[in-house]
């Protein structure tokens, strides 16, 4: 067992965790933040996506002790709306960008980081290794969001919601 400090959604939490505990289990079981979901627990589905220092990670493949040791700041879906509903959350509702809602917290966190990555002109395999900043087309969004599965098949509506808030 290990004593750690986790910075989540702007609050510091002191925890004693099994060193094998994933960041996902620490969030869900120790902190009661059940927004991030366990869909596959091996980084295939994206339901557990959260932000660590602004970058999207699969929290099921991330150890809680590693995040704490790095002093990283974690933001979950619960943290997106601390200052009122996030514009992506509003767009998701307006576009009916989910059905069962199980993948939605991960989709939202992934989309937040994806928009940030695109604004920093990070290339994708859709745009290729271009030195010019790629325009955020629907094709770009589809490529960049492909690490998050939605079995209800809300992809059309998620892309529309993201395009609504994209610059």
């Amino acid at each position: 067992m290990e004593n750690i400090t986790l910075d989540v959604n702007g609050e510091r939490h002191f925890l004693t965790v099994d060193i094998r505990m994933s960041l996902l289990d620490a969030l869900r079981d120790s902190l009661g933040l059940t927004g991030a979901k366990a869909g596959c627990e091996r980084g295939h589905c994206g339901c557990c996506t959260v932000l660590v220092d602004g970058r999207r990670v699969y929290s099921c493949l991330t150890l809680a002790v590693a995040v704490a040791g790095a002093g990283a700041r974690v933001v979950t879906v619960e943290g997106l709306s601390r200052a009122g509903p996030h514009r992506l959350q509003k767009a998701f509702i307006a576009r009916d960008a989910f059905q069962c809602g199980f993948c939605t917290p991960g989709q939202l966190c992934s989309a937040v980081a994806m928009l940030d990555e695109a604004s920093r002109e990070r290339p994708s395999s859709a745009s290729g290794p271009s030195s010019e900043g790629p325009a955020l087309t629907e094709t770009e969004v589809r490529e960049r969001m492909s690490g998050n599965l939605c079995r209800c098949g809300a992809y059309q509506n998620i892309v529309a919601a993201i395009m609504d808030v994209a610059p």
Partner: protein, 722 residues
């Protein structure tokens, strides 16, 4: 046929494009699913799966696991409470030493944390007596048997006229065999249960498509009265049929809570879901069509081969949709089944229609090609006003309108022959079409409608919202029946303590529950009218039960229909197929909520693209397990695989199918998609892919077959022996 109805009440709520009611909870993480439930003293359960496909457990040695710190109990055949009812072997965990599929639960560990439970599960030692197993579906197997009849109106085999004679005399014939692999539902929420016992009563939070039915099954399993059992499912993360019948983790959690004397949580791993959560049987289907030169069908034969397990009586009935699709004087549909040492298959979105219409609608495309007739026109020529199977008139059948509307919107007239080439000459673009159909079922349900002294309405029904928007649709139905504003209506679902209701499955949820809600609200309205419109300060309530109403024999054949149009680009160098456009036009009765209905339809079509191009369960004949047990090996479509998908509907209202005029829409989107894609691939390349998925391997095989057929044609033309 379709009738107009005059609505006395009506508030504009029915048909309104309103967002789903739980949307704010789902985008903020506040929506609580079964796995999110936390209780004081919660213990965790991990499963020990069988390592053999057939045989029996001879010994379980739990000592090492029990000695591990934090382990509370090890449950197995030698240490498990006896269940009251064991007739469903898949639910009767640890009641028998028999093993009939690899991965069957043979023991389980209850521990203080999920990490400890999983670690200790690997320490449980199990000895087996191994027996030979068979896991491969074989159409020549000696033990093939007819699938069971499903009631007097649904025999497993149907035959009209003289199919063989009609086929032998038909000027144009198609005879082809199509295969579909096993499909896994893989709803993203894993099956899970939180269970606890209190004063001899059992409460479970459960990933279920039917709280009332699950309550009754638990009562029988444990030999207690149903009113001692409560099943709660506030939010369910998708089901697609896999959460309709309860799965083994439910029984395991209830037993584990009994043994541990504490609340327990059992959530299956993604790998275990491939085994325990059910799957769609693989199918082998032979379709023979005989037609006149103008494309009119004279004979249709559809024979399907399917598998089931040693413990389940499930059957898919893939040939069943062929009974109602097209008129032909000579018809037969037959189902053969083989029992294997495999996990139990179960219902999956559009059971029967989904694989069956891949075969029939591919064969119809082959017939169109053989006759030299446009595939849309061929389907129009074989349309029928009466159900060929029952002889009853359809309550509404607007297949022709779907085909015509879709052809116009999709730009079908621009379908080029030969097909357009891709840039750089790397391949071709093709267009394909297929029809969709789903039978309409309604099951008895009860509902309660209550109005308080201030006019606020609460509707209660043990329905469940698995992502369909049921809360929202039922509120719209209640507001419309009562003639009140939608904001005055609250809906409570997801709890077996509410009035008993049928399940969310077989596209029956909204029509079954909606009928009960309409009747409860009508009774409430009548009671308010009787009192001259004055509301007592304590409010009023009324209840309904649709058991008698739904027992009346049907006077019409009730089905939804549709037409799907696909455009594909086939790279003839890499054999990569991309679907670039997909349009579905559906005849689904009155649309209660265009927002959520469109989402259901395009969601089904998206799963159809996934079926066409990605999904393939692969069983290992040596060990009897699925190779494809996770979402890396079992590929489901993601964003980049799914292009522009659009769905719309034709004007239709069907009051035979429900008092709202609506039909069920959960399944029809997946029916026909794969055939439309495969038919588009044929248009693009001339390669006929009859084995799903349409991947590089199957394209190479189809290309080789096309080459052989062309060579045979040349030889025949030159008068050479074959």
């Amino acid at each position: 046929m379709t009738q107009a109805v005059v609505r006395e009440a009506g508030s504009g709520a029915l048909g309104a494009a309103v967002p789903r009611r739980e949307a704010p909870d789902k985008v903020t993480g506040r929506a609580r699913y079964t796995g999110d439930v936390a209780l004081p003293g919660l213990a965790y359960v991990a499963v020990v799966p069988a390592a053999i496909a057939h045989g029996r457990v001879t010994a379980v040695r739990p000592e090492r696991a029990l000695a591990h710190a934090g382990v509370l109990a090890v449950i197995h055949g030698g240490a498990c409470p006896r269940l009251h009812q064991t007739s469903d072997a898949d639910l009767a965990v640890f009641q028998s030493s028999s093993v009939t599929y690899l991965g069957q639960f043979v023991a389980a560990v209850v521990a203080e944390s999920p990490q400890i439970a999983r670690e200790a599960a690997r320490m449980v030692e199990v000895d087996y007596a191994v027996a030979p197993h068979r896991v491969e579906l074989d159409t020549a197997a000696a033990d093939l048997h007819r699938s069971p009849d499903r009631g007097p109106h649904f025999p497993t085999d149907c035959s009209h006229g003289d199919v063989e004679a009609a086929l032998s005399h038909a000027p144009v014939r198609v005879d082809a065999t199509y295969t579909t692999p096993p499909y896994h539902h893989h709803a993203l929420e894993p099956h899970g249960t939180v269970a606890y016992w209190q004063a001899g009563g059992l409460t479970v939070h459960e990933t279920t498509q039917g709280p009332s039915g699950t309550r009754d099954i638990l009562a029988r399993l444990f030999g207690i009265s149903p009113d001692r059992v409560r099943v709660i499912a506030r939010h369910v993360g998708g089901g697609f049929g896999s959460k309709a019948a309860p799965k083994a983790q439910l029984a395991l959690a209830a037993v584990a809570a009994q043994v541990a004397g504490r609340p327990v949580k059992t959530v299956l791993t993604r790998e275990q879901l491939s085994v325990v959560a059910g799957y769609r049987t693989p199918t082998i289907q032979r379709v023979r069509l005989g037609a006149e030169a103008d494309g009119r069908l004279s004979a249709v034969s559809h024979v399907a081969y399917e598998q089931t397990s040693m413990t389940s009586d499930h059957a898919e009935y893939a040939a069943a949709p062929t009974r109602t699709m097209y008129a032909a004087p000579h018809r037969e549909t037959r189902h053969w089944r083989e029992r294997l040492h495999v996990p139990s298959p179960t219902w999956m979105r559009a059971p029967g229609e989904c694989p069956g219409m891949f075969a029939l609608e591919s064969a119809m495309d082959e017939l169109a090609h053989a006759c030299g007739i446009d595939p849309v026109e061929l389907r129009l020529r074989n349309d029928t006003a009466n159900d060929p199977h029952s002889g009853l008139p359809f309550s509404s059948r607007n297949l022709a309108a779907c085909l015509r509307t879709g052809a116009e919107r999709f730009g079908w007239a621009e379908r080029e022959s030969p097909p357009a080439q891709l840039a750089g000459g790397r391949g071709f673009v093709g267009m394909g079409v297929a029809a969709s159909t789903i039978p309409q079922y309604r099951f008895p349900s009860r509902a309660n409608a209550q109005v308080d002294g201030r006019g606020r309405v609460t509707v209660r029904i043990a329905a469940v919202d698995i992502g369909t928007g049921a809360r929202t649709a039922l509120a719209q139905i209640a507001a419309d029946t009562l003639g009140v504003g939608l904001d005055l209506v609250a809906v409570e679902v997801g709890d077996s303590a509410l009035p008993s209701a049928s399940w969310a499955g077989r596209s029956s949820g909204t029509t079954s529950w909606g009928t009960a809600v309409v009747r409860a609200c009508e009774a409430l309205r009548a009671e308010m009218a009787r009192r001259g419109g004055a509301l007592p300060s304590g409010g009023l309530e009324a209840a309904s039960d649709t058991l008698d109403e739904l027992a009346a024999p049907r006077t019409h054949s009730q089905h939804a229909f549709g037409a799907q149009f696909a455009e594909v680009a086939v790279d003839t160098v890499t054999r990569e197929v991309r679907v670039s456009r997909l349009l579905g036009v559906f005849a689904i009765g009155r649309v209660i909520n265009p927002v959520t209905v469109r989402s259901q339809l395009i969601g089904g079509m998206t799963m159809g693209v996934s079926m066409a191009l990605c999904e393939e369960g692969v069983l290992d004949p040596r060990y009897g397990h699925f190779h494809t047990r996770d979402l890396a090996a079992y590929r489901v479509a993601t964003f980049a695989d799914v292009p522009e998908v659009e769905a719309c509907w034709v004007d239709e209202e069907d009051v035979d199918t429900s008092p709202m005029g609506a039909k069920g829409v959960g399944e029809i989107g997946i029916v026909g998609t794969a055939a439309a894609v495969a038919n588009a691939v044929h248009h693009a390349t001339g390669w006929r892919v009859r084995d799903l998925p349409i991947n590089a391997r199957h394209l190479v095989e189809a290309e080789a077959a096309a080459g052989r057929e062309a060579a045979e044609g040349d030889r025949a033309a030159a008068g050479e022996p074959g």
